[in-house]
Protein backbone atom coordinates (compact mmCIF):
# COMPACT_ATOMS: atom_id res chain seq x y z
CA UNK A 1 0.00 0.00 0.00
CA UNK A 2 1.60 3.21 -1.12
CA UNK A 3 -0.41 5.86 0.65
CA UNK A 4 -0.49 5.78 4.43
CA UNK A 5 -3.79 5.59 6.28
CA UNK A 6 -5.69 8.86 6.31
CA UNK A 7 -6.92 10.60 9.46
CA UNK A 8 -10.39 9.32 8.68
CA UNK A 9 -9.10 5.74 8.73
CA UNK A 10 -7.25 6.18 11.99
CA UNK A 11 -10.23 7.79 13.72
CA UNK A 12 -12.59 5.09 12.41
CA UNK A 13 -10.26 2.38 13.73
CA UNK A 14 -9.73 4.06 17.11
CA UNK A 15 -13.43 4.67 17.73
CA UNK A 16 -14.40 1.22 16.51
CA UNK A 17 -11.94 -0.59 18.74
CA UNK A 18 -12.72 1.62 21.74
CA UNK A 19 -16.39 0.75 21.31
CA UNK A 20 -15.52 -2.97 21.21
CA UNK A 21 -13.12 -3.05 24.14
CA UNK A 22 -13.96 -0.32 26.69
CA UNK A 23 -17.09 -2.05 28.08
CA UNK A 24 -15.18 -5.29 28.68
CA UNK A 25 -12.31 -3.39 30.30
CA UNK A 26 -14.71 -1.60 32.65
CA UNK A 27 -16.30 -4.92 33.64
CA UNK A 28 -12.92 -6.43 34.47
CA UNK A 29 -11.77 -3.34 36.44
CA UNK A 30 -14.94 -3.20 38.51
CA UNK A 31 -14.70 -6.87 39.44
CA UNK A 32 -11.74 -5.78 41.62
CA UNK A 33 -13.79 -3.06 43.29
CA UNK A 34 -13.83 -3.22 47.09
CA UNK A 35 -17.22 -1.50 47.30
CA UNK A 36 -20.46 -3.46 47.11
CA UNK A 37 -21.91 -0.54 45.17
CA UNK A 38 -21.02 -1.49 41.65
CA UNK A 39 -20.83 2.12 40.49
CA UNK A 40 -18.57 3.59 43.17
CA UNK A 41 -14.87 2.77 43.16
CA UNK A 42 -13.90 1.73 46.70
CA UNK A 43 -10.32 0.63 46.16
CA UNK A 44 -8.73 -2.57 44.89
CA UNK A 45 -9.89 -5.85 46.37
CA UNK A 46 -10.21 -9.49 45.45
CA UNK A 47 -13.03 -10.09 47.93
CA UNK A 48 -15.59 -11.02 45.22
CA UNK A 49 -13.30 -13.73 43.94
CA UNK A 50 -12.96 -15.09 47.48
CA UNK A 51 -16.74 -14.98 47.85
CA UNK A 52 -17.07 -16.94 44.61
CA UNK A 53 -14.87 -19.73 45.94
CA UNK A 54 -17.45 -20.28 48.69
CA UNK A 55 -20.47 -20.14 46.40
CA UNK A 56 -21.18 -23.86 45.97
CA UNK A 57 -24.02 -23.34 43.46
CA UNK A 58 -21.84 -21.17 41.26
CA UNK A 59 -18.92 -23.62 41.40
CA UNK A 60 -21.25 -26.46 40.53
CA UNK A 61 -22.60 -24.54 37.54
CA UNK A 62 -19.05 -23.76 36.42
CA UNK A 63 -18.10 -27.44 36.56
CA UNK A 64 -21.17 -28.49 34.55
CA UNK A 65 -20.48 -25.77 31.98
CA UNK A 66 -16.85 -26.79 31.60
CA UNK A 67 -17.67 -30.45 31.06
CA UNK A 68 -20.40 -29.66 28.53
CA UNK A 69 -18.02 -27.28 26.77
CA UNK A 70 -15.19 -29.80 26.42
CA UNK A 71 -17.42 -32.72 25.44
CA UNK A 72 -19.50 -30.82 22.90
CA UNK A 73 -16.43 -29.11 21.44
CA UNK A 74 -14.70 -32.48 20.96
CA UNK A 75 -17.76 -33.98 19.25
CA UNK A 76 -18.31 -30.83 17.19
CA UNK A 77 -14.69 -30.84 16.02
CA UNK A 78 -14.95 -34.40 14.68
CA UNK A 79 -18.36 -33.88 13.06
CA UNK A 80 -17.49 -30.43 11.74
CA UNK A 81 -14.22 -31.60 10.19
CA UNK A 82 -15.98 -34.49 8.46
CA UNK A 83 -18.65 -32.09 7.22
CA UNK A 84 -15.99 -29.72 5.86
CA UNK A 85 -14.25 -32.58 4.02
CA UNK A 86 -17.60 -33.66 2.59
CA UNK A 87 -18.40 -30.09 1.44
CA UNK A 88 -15.04 -29.32 -0.17
CA UNK A 89 -13.72 -32.66 -1.38
CA UNK A 90 -16.75 -34.61 -2.46
CA UNK A 91 -17.97 -32.50 -5.32
CA UNK A 92 -21.65 -32.86 -6.05
CA UNK A 93 -22.98 -35.83 -4.17
CA UNK A 94 -26.66 -36.52 -3.88
CA UNK A 95 -28.28 -34.25 -1.30
CA UNK A 96 -25.37 -31.81 -1.25
CA UNK A 97 -27.68 -28.80 -1.46
CA UNK A 98 -29.58 -29.92 1.63
CA UNK A 99 -26.31 -30.74 3.38
CA UNK A 100 -24.89 -27.27 2.69
CA UNK A 101 -28.16 -25.78 3.88
CA UNK A 102 -28.01 -27.68 7.14
CA UNK A 103 -24.44 -26.44 7.70
CA UNK A 104 -25.20 -22.77 7.03
CA UNK A 105 -28.71 -22.40 8.42
CA UNK A 106 -27.81 -22.99 12.11
CA UNK A 107 -25.26 -20.15 11.91
CA UNK A 108 -27.92 -17.53 11.30
CA UNK A 109 -31.02 -19.27 12.66
CA UNK A 110 -32.39 -17.38 15.68
CA UNK A 111 -31.44 -19.48 18.68
CA UNK A 112 -34.93 -19.40 20.15
CA UNK A 113 -36.12 -21.44 17.15
CA UNK A 114 -33.24 -23.95 17.31
CA UNK A 115 -33.64 -24.27 21.08
CA UNK A 116 -37.38 -24.78 20.98
CA UNK A 117 -37.18 -27.34 18.17
CA UNK A 118 -34.45 -29.36 19.90
CA UNK A 119 -36.39 -29.41 23.13
CA UNK A 120 -39.51 -30.67 21.36
CA UNK A 121 -37.41 -33.42 19.77
CA UNK A 122 -36.07 -34.49 23.16
CA UNK A 123 -39.59 -34.49 24.60
CA UNK A 124 -40.94 -36.45 21.62
CA UNK A 125 -38.36 -39.22 22.02
CA UNK A 126 -38.79 -39.01 25.78
CA UNK A 127 -35.19 -38.74 27.00
CA UNK A 128 -34.22 -37.34 30.38
CA UNK A 129 -33.25 -33.73 29.87
CA UNK A 130 -30.12 -32.31 31.45
CA UNK A 131 -26.40 -32.63 30.90
CA UNK A 132 -26.55 -34.79 27.77
CA UNK A 133 -29.32 -32.93 26.00
CA UNK A 134 -27.43 -29.63 26.41
CA UNK A 135 -24.28 -31.33 25.11
CA UNK A 136 -26.08 -32.59 22.00
CA UNK A 137 -27.65 -29.15 21.41
CA UNK A 138 -24.27 -27.41 21.65
CA UNK A 139 -22.62 -30.01 19.42
CA UNK A 140 -25.24 -29.43 16.74
CA UNK A 141 -24.76 -25.67 16.69
CA UNK A 142 -20.99 -25.52 17.07
CA UNK A 143 -20.15 -28.27 14.54
CA UNK A 144 -21.37 -25.88 11.85
CA UNK A 145 -18.88 -23.21 12.98
CA UNK A 146 -16.09 -25.83 12.96
CA UNK A 147 -17.16 -26.91 9.46
CA UNK A 148 -16.95 -23.32 8.19
CA UNK A 149 -13.47 -22.74 9.62
CA UNK A 150 -12.01 -26.07 8.40
CA UNK A 151 -13.67 -25.67 5.02
CA UNK A 152 -12.07 -22.22 4.56
CA UNK A 153 -8.68 -23.86 5.16
CA UNK A 154 -9.39 -26.76 2.79
CA UNK A 155 -10.43 -24.42 0.01
CA UNK A 156 -7.08 -22.59 -0.16
CA UNK A 157 -5.02 -25.67 0.29
CA UNK A 158 -2.23 -26.86 -1.97
CA UNK A 159 -3.48 -30.12 -3.40
CA UNK A 160 -0.16 -30.85 -5.13
CA UNK A 161 1.35 -32.00 -1.81
CA UNK A 162 -1.25 -34.74 -1.51
CA UNK A 163 -0.86 -35.64 -5.15
CA UNK A 164 2.91 -35.86 -4.73
CA UNK A 165 2.53 -38.22 -1.77
CA UNK A 166 0.12 -40.41 -3.70
CA UNK A 167 2.30 -40.44 -6.80
CA UNK A 168 5.13 -41.68 -4.61
CA UNK A 169 2.95 -44.60 -3.57
CA UNK A 170 1.61 -43.38 -0.25
CA UNK A 171 -1.75 -45.06 0.47
CA UNK A 172 -4.77 -42.71 0.80
CA UNK A 173 -5.27 -43.12 4.55
CA UNK A 174 -1.60 -42.51 5.24
CA UNK A 175 -1.63 -39.50 2.93
CA UNK A 176 -4.56 -38.10 4.84
CA UNK A 177 -2.93 -38.66 8.23
CA UNK A 178 0.58 -37.47 7.33
CA UNK A 179 -0.09 -34.73 4.77
CA UNK A 180 -3.66 -33.46 4.91
CA UNK A 181 -4.31 -33.59 8.64
CA UNK A 182 -1.17 -31.69 9.72
CA UNK A 183 -1.94 -28.99 7.15
CA UNK A 184 -5.49 -28.43 8.33
CA UNK A 185 -4.65 -28.98 12.02
CA UNK A 186 -4.48 -25.24 12.87
CA UNK A 187 -7.99 -24.77 11.50
CA UNK A 188 -9.23 -27.78 13.43
CA UNK A 189 -7.66 -26.36 16.62
CA UNK A 190 -9.30 -22.96 16.01
CA UNK A 191 -12.57 -24.76 15.42
CA UNK A 192 -12.28 -26.62 18.71
CA UNK A 193 -11.56 -23.44 20.66
CA UNK A 194 -14.41 -21.57 18.99
CA UNK A 195 -16.81 -24.46 19.68
CA UNK A 196 -15.69 -24.52 23.31
CA UNK A 197 -16.11 -20.78 23.84
CA UNK A 198 -19.52 -20.76 22.13
CA UNK A 199 -20.70 -23.57 24.39
CA UNK A 200 -19.32 -21.84 27.49
CA UNK A 201 -21.38 -18.79 26.65
CA UNK A 202 -24.68 -20.15 25.36
CA UNK A 203 -27.80 -19.21 27.29
CA UNK A 204 -30.69 -19.88 24.95
CA UNK A 205 -30.06 -23.45 23.77
CA UNK A 206 -29.10 -24.43 27.32
CA UNK A 207 -32.25 -22.86 28.80
CA UNK A 208 -34.50 -24.79 26.43
CA UNK A 209 -32.76 -28.15 26.61
CA UNK A 210 -31.79 -28.26 30.28
CA UNK A 211 -33.47 -30.38 32.91
CA UNK A 212 -33.37 -30.76 36.65
CA UNK A 213 -29.86 -30.66 38.08
CA UNK A 214 -28.10 -29.22 35.04
CA UNK A 215 -27.70 -25.49 35.57
CA UNK A 216 -24.98 -23.98 33.43
CA UNK A 217 -23.08 -20.81 34.23
CA UNK A 218 -24.90 -18.64 31.66
CA UNK A 219 -28.29 -19.79 33.00
CA UNK A 220 -27.15 -18.84 36.49
CA UNK A 221 -25.62 -15.54 35.42
CA UNK A 222 -28.77 -14.68 33.49
CA UNK A 223 -31.08 -15.28 36.45
CA UNK A 224 -28.83 -13.13 38.67
CA UNK A 225 -28.40 -10.38 36.09
CA UNK A 226 -32.17 -9.98 35.75
CA UNK A 227 -32.16 -8.87 39.38
CA UNK A 228 -29.44 -6.29 38.78
CA UNK A 229 -25.69 -5.86 38.64
CA UNK A 230 -23.70 -7.60 41.35
CA UNK A 231 -19.94 -7.49 41.96
CA UNK A 232 -19.85 -11.31 42.25
CA UNK A 233 -21.17 -11.56 38.70
CA UNK A 234 -18.48 -9.15 37.53
CA UNK A 235 -15.94 -11.55 39.05
CA UNK A 236 -17.49 -14.64 37.38
CA UNK A 237 -17.53 -12.86 34.05
CA UNK A 238 -13.89 -11.80 34.44
CA UNK A 239 -12.88 -15.40 35.09
CA UNK A 240 -14.85 -16.56 32.04
CA UNK A 241 -13.18 -13.91 29.89
CA UNK A 242 -9.79 -15.04 31.20
CA UNK A 243 -10.55 -18.69 30.35
CA UNK A 244 -11.67 -17.76 26.85
CA UNK A 245 -8.68 -15.45 26.28
CA UNK A 246 -6.30 -18.16 27.45
CA UNK A 247 -7.88 -20.75 25.12
CA UNK A 248 -7.43 -18.36 22.21
CA UNK A 249 -3.80 -17.64 23.09
CA UNK A 250 -3.06 -21.37 23.34
CA UNK A 251 -4.80 -21.99 20.02
CA UNK A 252 -2.92 -19.24 18.22
CA UNK A 253 0.39 -20.41 19.72
CA UNK A 254 -0.33 -23.89 18.40
CA UNK A 255 -1.09 -22.37 15.01
CA UNK A 256 2.22 -20.50 15.08
CA UNK A 257 4.21 -23.56 16.16
CA UNK A 258 2.77 -25.70 13.43
CA UNK A 259 3.62 -22.99 10.93
CA UNK A 260 0.07 -22.48 9.70
CA UNK A 261 -1.50 -19.16 9.07
CA UNK A 262 -4.38 -17.58 10.96
CA UNK A 263 -7.84 -18.72 10.09
CA UNK A 264 -10.88 -16.63 9.57
CA UNK A 265 -12.91 -17.32 12.64
CA UNK A 266 -16.35 -16.21 11.61
CA UNK A 267 -18.73 -17.67 9.10
CA UNK A 268 -18.94 -14.60 6.91
CA UNK A 269 -15.25 -13.93 6.63
CA UNK A 270 -14.72 -15.85 3.46
CA UNK A 271 -17.73 -14.45 1.64
Amino acid sequence: MRRGPSWFNIIALALGFAFLYVPIAILVIYSFNASRLVTVWGGFSTRWYVALMHDAAMLDAAWVTLRIGLLSAAAATVLGTLAALALVRFGRFRGRLLFGGMIYAPLVMPEVITGLSLLLLFVAVDVDRGFWTITVAHTTLTMCFVAIIVQARLVDFDRSLEEAAMDLGCPPLKTFLTVTLPLIAPAIASGFVLAFTLSLDDLILASFTTGPGATTLPIRIYSEVRLGVKPEINAVCTILIAVVAMSIVVASLMTKLSGGRGESATPGAQA
Binding site: N9, G16, L20, I24, L79, V108, P110, D201, V229
Partner: protein, 314 residues
Protein backbone atom coordinates in the same frame (compact mmCIF):
# COMPACT_ATOMS: atom_id res chain seq x y z
CA UNK B 1 -11.46 -45.83 9.63
CA UNK B 2 -13.74 -43.23 8.19
CA UNK B 3 -11.16 -40.92 6.69
CA UNK B 4 -9.77 -43.29 4.14
CA UNK B 5 -9.88 -42.40 0.48
CA UNK B 6 -10.88 -38.81 1.13
CA UNK B 7 -7.83 -37.72 -0.74
CA UNK B 8 -8.12 -40.50 -3.28
CA UNK B 9 -10.92 -38.99 -5.29
CA UNK B 10 -10.59 -35.38 -6.39
CA UNK B 11 -13.65 -33.14 -6.16
CA UNK B 12 -16.11 -34.03 -8.84
CA UNK B 13 -14.19 -37.19 -9.68
CA UNK B 14 -16.28 -40.04 -10.93
CA UNK B 15 -14.70 -42.83 -8.92
CA UNK B 16 -16.85 -45.46 -7.32
CA UNK B 17 -18.14 -44.43 -3.90
CA UNK B 18 -16.71 -46.66 -1.22
CA UNK B 19 -18.12 -47.23 2.21
CA UNK B 20 -15.51 -45.35 4.24
CA UNK B 21 -15.89 -42.44 1.87
CA UNK B 22 -19.64 -42.55 2.24
CA UNK B 23 -19.33 -42.47 6.02
CA UNK B 24 -17.50 -39.13 5.92
CA UNK B 25 -20.64 -37.58 4.47
CA UNK B 26 -23.13 -39.77 6.23
CA UNK B 27 -22.12 -39.19 9.86
CA UNK B 28 -22.44 -35.37 9.90
CA UNK B 29 -25.38 -35.61 7.50
CA UNK B 30 -27.39 -37.91 9.77
CA UNK B 31 -26.45 -35.89 12.85
CA UNK B 32 -27.78 -32.67 11.33
CA UNK B 33 -30.84 -34.40 9.91
CA UNK B 34 -31.68 -35.81 13.35
CA UNK B 35 -30.90 -32.73 15.44
CA UNK B 36 -31.57 -29.86 13.08
CA UNK B 37 -34.03 -30.92 10.38
CA UNK B 38 -36.26 -33.41 12.18
CA UNK B 39 -36.92 -31.01 15.09
CA UNK B 40 -38.49 -28.53 12.65
CA UNK B 41 -40.97 -31.17 11.58
CA UNK B 42 -41.88 -31.65 15.23
CA UNK B 43 -42.23 -27.89 15.75
CA UNK B 44 -44.60 -27.76 12.79
CA UNK B 45 -46.63 -30.66 14.13
CA UNK B 46 -46.81 -29.06 17.57
CA UNK B 47 -47.92 -25.73 16.14
CA UNK B 48 -51.09 -27.58 15.03
CA UNK B 49 -51.64 -29.10 18.47
CA UNK B 50 -53.41 -27.84 21.54
CA UNK B 51 -52.00 -27.10 24.96
CA UNK B 52 -53.06 -29.46 27.76
CA UNK B 53 -52.38 -30.03 31.41
CA UNK B 54 -50.49 -33.25 30.90
CA UNK B 55 -47.03 -34.65 30.42
CA UNK B 56 -46.00 -33.65 27.76
CA UNK B 57 -48.16 -30.50 27.95
CA UNK B 58 -49.93 -30.83 24.60
CA UNK B 59 -52.44 -32.99 22.71
CA UNK B 60 -52.60 -34.97 20.52
CA UNK B 61 -49.65 -37.27 21.17
CA UNK B 62 -49.01 -39.71 18.37
CA UNK B 63 -49.52 -43.23 19.66
CA UNK B 64 -48.10 -45.69 17.16
CA UNK B 65 -49.31 -48.66 19.24
CA UNK B 66 -52.88 -47.80 18.22
CA UNK B 67 -52.05 -48.48 14.59
CA UNK B 68 -54.02 -46.88 11.80
CA UNK B 69 -56.89 -45.79 14.07
CA UNK B 70 -54.42 -43.93 16.27
CA UNK B 71 -52.93 -42.23 13.24
CA UNK B 72 -56.37 -41.15 12.05
CA UNK B 73 -57.30 -39.82 15.48
CA UNK B 74 -53.99 -37.98 15.62
CA UNK B 75 -54.46 -36.22 12.31
CA UNK B 76 -58.07 -35.29 12.93
CA UNK B 77 -57.07 -33.64 16.21
CA UNK B 78 -54.65 -31.27 14.51
CA UNK B 79 -56.00 -27.79 13.90
CA UNK B 80 -54.70 -24.41 12.73
CA UNK B 81 -56.21 -22.53 15.67
CA UNK B 82 -52.81 -21.36 16.95
CA UNK B 83 -52.24 -19.58 13.66
CA UNK B 84 -55.70 -18.06 13.88
CA UNK B 85 -54.74 -16.81 17.34
CA UNK B 86 -51.52 -15.23 16.04
CA UNK B 87 -53.36 -13.58 13.17
CA UNK B 88 -56.15 -12.22 15.34
CA UNK B 89 -54.23 -10.97 18.37
CA UNK B 90 -52.53 -7.63 17.84
CA UNK B 91 -49.80 -8.49 20.38
CA UNK B 92 -48.24 -11.06 18.07
CA UNK B 93 -48.47 -8.97 14.95
CA UNK B 94 -46.99 -6.00 16.79
CA UNK B 95 -44.00 -7.97 18.01
CA UNK B 96 -43.28 -9.37 14.53
CA UNK B 97 -43.37 -5.86 13.08
CA UNK B 98 -41.31 -4.50 15.93
CA UNK B 99 -38.66 -7.23 15.42
CA UNK B 100 -38.38 -6.48 11.70
CA UNK B 101 -38.17 -2.75 12.42
CA UNK B 102 -35.49 -3.12 15.11
CA UNK B 103 -33.43 -5.54 12.99
CA UNK B 104 -33.63 -3.23 9.96
CA UNK B 105 -32.57 -0.12 11.87
CA UNK B 106 -29.80 -2.02 13.67
CA UNK B 107 -28.50 -3.41 10.35
CA UNK B 108 -28.37 0.13 8.95
CA UNK B 109 -26.49 1.34 12.04
CA UNK B 110 -24.09 -1.60 11.79
CA UNK B 111 -23.36 -0.71 8.17
CA UNK B 112 -22.71 2.93 9.09
CA UNK B 113 -20.28 1.92 11.83
CA UNK B 114 -18.92 -1.31 10.37
CA UNK B 115 -18.05 -0.08 6.91
CA UNK B 116 -15.64 2.69 8.02
CA UNK B 117 -14.04 0.26 10.45
CA UNK B 118 -13.56 -2.41 7.75
CA UNK B 119 -12.34 0.27 5.35
CA UNK B 120 -9.83 1.56 7.90
CA UNK B 121 -8.60 -1.99 8.48
CA UNK B 122 -8.17 -2.71 4.78
CA UNK B 123 -6.20 0.51 4.25
CA UNK B 124 -4.00 0.06 7.30
CA UNK B 125 -0.37 -1.00 6.71
CA UNK B 126 -0.15 -4.67 5.69
CA UNK B 127 1.87 -5.77 8.69
CA UNK B 128 -0.77 -4.36 11.07
CA UNK B 129 -3.68 -6.09 9.39
CA UNK B 130 -3.42 -9.51 11.10
CA UNK B 131 -3.51 -7.78 14.49
CA UNK B 132 -6.48 -5.61 13.55
CA UNK B 133 -8.25 -8.71 12.21
CA UNK B 134 -7.63 -10.54 15.48
CA UNK B 135 -8.81 -7.50 17.44
CA UNK B 136 -12.18 -7.58 15.67
CA UNK B 137 -12.52 -11.35 16.02
CA UNK B 138 -11.63 -11.50 19.73
CA UNK B 139 -14.84 -9.94 21.10
CA UNK B 140 -16.79 -12.44 19.01
CA UNK B 141 -15.08 -15.25 20.90
CA UNK B 142 -15.68 -13.59 24.25
CA UNK B 143 -18.93 -14.48 25.91
CA UNK B 144 -21.93 -12.80 24.35
CA UNK B 145 -23.99 -12.70 27.55
CA UNK B 146 -21.08 -11.11 29.39
CA UNK B 147 -20.76 -8.37 26.81
CA UNK B 148 -24.42 -7.48 27.26
CA UNK B 149 -23.95 -7.57 31.00
CA UNK B 150 -20.99 -5.18 30.62
CA UNK B 151 -23.35 -2.63 29.10
CA UNK B 152 -25.76 -2.89 32.03
CA UNK B 153 -22.84 -1.78 34.21
CA UNK B 154 -22.37 1.27 32.01
CA UNK B 155 -25.97 2.20 31.19
CA UNK B 156 -27.70 1.89 34.55
CA UNK B 157 -29.02 5.08 36.14
CA UNK B 158 -26.00 5.64 38.40
CA UNK B 159 -23.70 3.94 35.90
CA UNK B 160 -20.52 5.21 34.34
CA UNK B 161 -22.15 6.87 31.34
CA UNK B 162 -24.36 9.06 33.51
CA UNK B 163 -21.49 9.75 35.90
CA UNK B 164 -19.43 10.96 32.96
CA UNK B 165 -22.27 13.03 31.53
CA UNK B 166 -22.94 14.67 34.93
CA UNK B 167 -19.24 15.33 35.55
CA UNK B 168 -18.88 16.98 32.16
CA UNK B 169 -21.97 19.06 32.82
CA UNK B 170 -23.71 17.81 29.69
CA UNK B 171 -26.85 16.88 31.64
CA UNK B 172 -28.24 18.07 34.99
CA UNK B 173 -30.41 15.08 35.81
CA UNK B 174 -29.25 11.59 34.87
CA UNK B 175 -31.35 10.26 31.96
CA UNK B 176 -32.55 6.66 31.97
CA UNK B 177 -30.65 4.57 29.41
CA UNK B 178 -31.63 1.05 30.41
CA UNK B 179 -35.03 -0.18 29.27
CA UNK B 180 -34.95 2.15 26.27
CA UNK B 181 -34.67 1.54 22.53
CA UNK B 182 -31.30 3.29 22.57
CA UNK B 183 -29.94 0.61 24.91
CA UNK B 184 -31.26 -2.16 22.64
CA UNK B 185 -29.60 -0.61 19.60
CA UNK B 186 -26.32 -0.15 21.47
CA UNK B 187 -26.44 -3.81 22.53
CA UNK B 188 -27.26 -5.07 19.03
CA UNK B 189 -24.61 -2.99 17.29
CA UNK B 190 -22.04 -3.94 19.91
CA UNK B 191 -22.73 -7.68 19.71
CA UNK B 192 -23.03 -8.00 15.94
CA UNK B 193 -20.28 -5.58 14.85
CA UNK B 194 -17.70 -8.33 14.09
CA UNK B 195 -20.23 -10.10 11.85
CA UNK B 196 -20.62 -6.93 9.80
CA UNK B 197 -16.95 -5.91 9.71
CA UNK B 198 -15.34 -9.21 8.72
CA UNK B 199 -17.20 -9.97 5.46
CA UNK B 200 -16.77 -6.34 4.31
CA UNK B 201 -13.09 -6.41 5.24
CA UNK B 202 -12.65 -9.69 3.35
CA UNK B 203 -13.86 -8.08 0.11
CA UNK B 204 -12.04 -4.76 0.59
CA UNK B 205 -8.78 -6.49 1.42
CA UNK B 206 -8.85 -8.39 -1.88
CA UNK B 207 -9.63 -5.22 -3.85
CA UNK B 208 -7.16 -4.34 -6.58
CA UNK B 209 -5.45 -1.14 -5.43
CA UNK B 210 -4.55 -0.18 -8.99
CA UNK B 211 -8.23 0.35 -9.82
CA UNK B 212 -8.24 3.41 -7.56
CA UNK B 213 -4.95 4.63 -8.98
CA UNK B 214 -6.31 4.28 -12.50
CA UNK B 215 -9.39 6.25 -11.48
CA UNK B 216 -7.22 8.98 -9.94
CA UNK B 217 -4.95 9.11 -13.01
CA UNK B 218 -7.99 9.62 -15.19
CA UNK B 219 -9.01 12.58 -13.04
CA UNK B 220 -11.69 10.95 -10.92
CA UNK B 221 -12.02 12.69 -7.52
CA UNK B 222 -11.55 10.36 -4.48
CA UNK B 223 -15.20 10.47 -3.34
CA UNK B 224 -16.36 9.55 -6.82
CA UNK B 225 -13.78 6.73 -7.05
CA UNK B 226 -15.10 5.44 -3.73
CA UNK B 227 -18.66 5.53 -5.07
CA UNK B 228 -17.85 4.02 -8.47
CA UNK B 229 -15.08 1.55 -7.55
CA UNK B 230 -14.79 0.72 -3.85
CA UNK B 231 -18.50 0.40 -3.08
CA UNK B 232 -19.40 -1.93 -5.97
CA UNK B 233 -16.37 -4.13 -5.19
CA UNK B 234 -17.39 -4.47 -1.55
CA UNK B 235 -21.09 -4.98 -2.28
CA UNK B 236 -20.86 -8.76 -1.80
CA UNK B 237 -19.32 -8.30 1.63
CA UNK B 238 -21.91 -5.69 2.54
CA UNK B 239 -24.78 -8.03 1.62
CA UNK B 240 -23.21 -11.00 3.43
CA UNK B 241 -22.60 -8.88 6.54
CA UNK B 242 -26.09 -7.42 6.48
CA UNK B 243 -27.72 -10.87 6.22
CA UNK B 244 -25.42 -12.34 8.86
CA UNK B 245 -26.62 -9.61 11.25
CA UNK B 246 -30.23 -9.12 10.17
CA UNK B 247 -31.43 -12.76 10.31
CA UNK B 248 -30.45 -13.62 13.89
CA UNK B 249 -31.34 -10.12 15.11
CA UNK B 250 -34.99 -10.58 14.10
CA UNK B 251 -35.22 -13.46 16.57
CA UNK B 252 -32.96 -11.91 19.19
CA UNK B 253 -33.94 -12.55 22.79
CA UNK B 254 -31.16 -11.77 25.27
CA UNK B 255 -30.42 -8.19 24.17
CA UNK B 256 -33.98 -6.77 24.20
CA UNK B 257 -34.73 -8.76 27.34
CA UNK B 258 -31.81 -7.40 29.37
CA UNK B 259 -31.43 -3.93 27.88
CA UNK B 260 -34.89 -3.10 26.51
CA UNK B 261 -38.14 -1.99 28.10
CA UNK B 262 -41.09 -4.18 28.98
CA UNK B 263 -43.39 -2.72 26.31
CA UNK B 264 -42.66 -3.10 22.59
CA UNK B 265 -41.28 -6.61 22.99
CA UNK B 266 -39.62 -8.41 20.11
CA UNK B 267 -40.87 -11.75 18.77
CA UNK B 268 -38.07 -13.70 20.42
CA UNK B 269 -39.29 -12.42 23.79
CA UNK B 270 -42.92 -13.26 22.94
CA UNK B 271 -41.91 -16.81 22.04
CA UNK B 272 -39.87 -17.10 25.24
CA UNK B 273 -42.81 -15.88 27.37
CA UNK B 274 -45.29 -18.23 25.69
CA UNK B 275 -42.96 -21.13 26.32
CA UNK B 276 -41.44 -20.48 29.75
CA UNK B 277 -44.11 -18.17 31.21
CA UNK B 278 -47.43 -19.41 29.88
CA UNK B 279 -46.16 -22.96 29.25
CA UNK B 280 -48.10 -22.86 25.99
CA UNK B 281 -45.83 -24.99 23.81
CA UNK B 282 -48.14 -25.14 20.78
CA UNK B 283 -48.47 -21.34 20.65
CA UNK B 284 -44.70 -20.95 20.96
CA UNK B 285 -44.27 -23.44 18.11
CA UNK B 286 -46.69 -21.55 15.88
CA UNK B 287 -44.77 -18.32 16.60
CA UNK B 288 -41.55 -20.10 15.63
CA UNK B 289 -43.03 -21.43 12.38
CA UNK B 290 -44.26 -17.98 11.32
CA UNK B 291 -40.88 -16.45 12.25
CA UNK B 292 -39.15 -19.11 10.17
CA UNK B 293 -41.38 -18.30 7.19
CA UNK B 294 -40.39 -14.62 7.51
CA UNK B 295 -36.70 -15.53 7.53
CA UNK B 296 -36.70 -18.25 4.87
CA UNK B 297 -35.96 -15.85 2.01
CA UNK B 298 -32.97 -14.08 3.62
CA UNK B 299 -31.59 -17.42 4.87
CA UNK B 300 -31.75 -18.90 1.36
CA UNK B 301 -30.03 -15.87 -0.16
CA UNK B 302 -27.30 -16.14 2.48
CA UNK B 303 -26.82 -19.87 1.82
CA UNK B 304 -26.69 -19.32 -1.90
CA UNK B 305 -23.92 -16.75 -1.47
CA UNK B 306 -21.96 -19.05 0.84
CA UNK B 307 -22.13 -22.09 -1.48
CA UNK B 308 -21.04 -19.90 -4.38
CA UNK B 309 -18.06 -18.76 -2.29
CA UNK B 310 -17.00 -22.39 -1.74
CA UNK B 311 -17.41 -23.34 -5.38
CA UNK B 312 -15.32 -20.40 -6.47
CA UNK B 313 -12.58 -21.49 -4.08
CA UNK B 314 -12.48 -25.20 -4.70
Amino acid sequence: MTDEVIVAAPAGGGRATTWPRRLVVLVPYLWLAAFFLLPFVIVFKLSLSETAIAQPPYVPVLDLAEGFEGLKAFFSALSPRNYALIASDWIYLASYLRSLEVATIATALLLLIGFPLAYGMARAPRRLQPFLFMAVVLPFWTAFLIRIYAWINILQRDGLLNQALLALGIVDTPPAWLATDTAVYIGLVYSYLPFMVLPIYATLEKMDETLLEAAADLGCPPWKAFWLVTLPVSLKGVIAGALLCFIPMVGEFVIPDLLGGSENVMIGQTLWTEFFGNKDWPAASAIAVVLLCLLVMPIMIYQHMQSRAIERGS
